[in-house]
């Protein structure tokens, strides 16, 4: 990670909670929204009562809770605070959210590996063909392959996801979305029940991308 990337990263971390509303602002908003919803109900029903206004505002909050439950079932990745867990929660393992990928910029654009470059244990040699692909197209191909990985994870096909990640490793050993792929691997191992593999992959991830916001989630992937 370059100095500037670090600064960008620190800025985001420092500012992340800086725009949250105060308790007073929340309260004021809640009151105003309830009143406006009540007023809308009044226009619709032409002759509403205070009870109807309250009921309408209450239905709105209740509606949000129901919607959250639907959303939680459909896309477990975004469990909003306060939503109730389902009685028997399925093991929903989603592809990790790619974050401020620490290597996305730090890694130089993929270039043909010089003949004298030492080979890395974790980075299999790139096929000669891959080096000739323009970087824009390469990124598209990387993204497409990772989208397939995410799709497989969402459908619970962890083995398929792992196969695709192996393919990613072979095709893009110095890929621009390497951090995303490494995080996805942790979730795929968890989903496949290969907890030890997941733990060691998570530990490697944290070592390589210590400052990634995804690190904590990756570490907690199998919990």
């Amino acid at each position: 990670m370059t100095g500037l990337e670090l600064k960008a990263h620190r800025l985001v971390e420092l500012a992340r909670s800086g725009d949250d509303p105060s308790a007073g602002q929340l309260l004021s908003l809640h009151g105003a929204v309830a009143a406006r919803i009540g007023a809308e109900g009044a226009i619709a029903a032409s002759g509403t009562t205070v009870t109807a206004k309250v009921a309408s505002a209450g239905a709105y909050v209740k509606g949000l809770v129901v919607a959250a439950a639907v959303a939680t079932g459909a896309a477990g990745f975004f469990v909003l605070q306060g939503s109730q867990p389902s009685p028997a929660p399925p093991v929903v393992v989603q592809a990790p959210a790619p974050r401020f990928a620490p290597l996305a910029h730090a890694t130089p654009a993929p270039a043909p590996a010089p003949a004298t470059r030492p080979s890395s244990v974790e980075a299999p040699a790139a096929p000669a063909r891959a080096a000739k692909v323009p970087s824009g197209l390469r990124l598209q191909e990387e993204a497409a392959l990772l989208a397939e990985v995410q799709g497989a994870l969402r459908s619970g096909k962890a083995t398929v996801a792992l196969g695709k990640l192996e393919s990613y490793d072979r095709r893009f050993p110095t890929g621009m979305l390497r951090a995303e792929a490494d995080a996805a691997r942790v979730f795929a191992f968890c989903s496949a029940g290969r907890v030890e593999k997941a733990r060691s992959a998570a530990s490697r991830f944290v070592q390589r991308y210590a400052s990634s916001p995804a690190a904590a989630r990756v570490q907690a992937a199998c919990k």
């Binding site: 639907v70 896309a75 497409a144």
Partner: protein, 170 residues
């Protein structure tokens, strides 16, 4: 539940450039749209993504209204510059530092185009997945990945420029 939604809406309206004075009005507008359109929500996306899509549209409307209002720029304080160069430490100035960082973040975000700003906010600040961000922005996943990369570069370029200006002013 309501509170977490309200916070999500509020902070992202602000990051998307809605002026402080118009925040509550804009947040009310978001929740009215949510209220009206809730029956249409089918759970195909997460509730958070669905609401974020509404926030994007409401923010764009309020930003158009506020167009022409001059943005006040203040010099970047020394301590913030230092905190960005070295790991931030907990201390009595922490709150000030967070406030200053939030101000600087707004300045950087303001300099990005709408789509890049929204992508950065969703993925790097709100930590949603690129797939969800793509859905909220109604762009395909490959496009989202390549634009996110461009957005991160633009963010760093703008931040670098602001920090240089800050250095020059001292």
């Amino acid at each position: 539940m309501y509170e977490s939604c309200a916070k999500l809406v509020w902070r992202n309206l602000r990051r998307l450039g809605v002026p402080e004075a118009a925040l509550e009005d804009a947040a009310q507008d978001v929740f009215l749209v949510v209220h009206r359109r809730l029956p249409e929500f089918e759970g195909r996306s997460s509730l958070r993504t669905w609401i974020f899509g509404i926030v994007l549209r409401v923010a764009a409307r309020h930003r158009r209204k506020a167009r022409g209002v001059a943005v006040r720029e203040t010099p970047i304080p020394n301590e913030l510059g230092q905190a960005l160069s070295a790991p931030a430490h907990e201390g009595p100035f922490e709150r000030t530092l967070h406030r200053q960082a939030t101000g600087l973040l707004h300045l950087v975000l303001e300099r990005l185009d709408d789509e890049r700003r929204a992508l950065l906010i969703m993925v790097d600040i709100e930590q949603t997945s690129v797939a969800e961000a793509a859905e909220a922005l109604e762009i395909n996943l490959n496009t989202a990945y390549s634009r996110l990369r461009a957005a991160r570069r633009a963010f760093e370029t703008e931040l670098s420029g602001l920090l240089l200006v800050g250095e020059g002013a001292k």
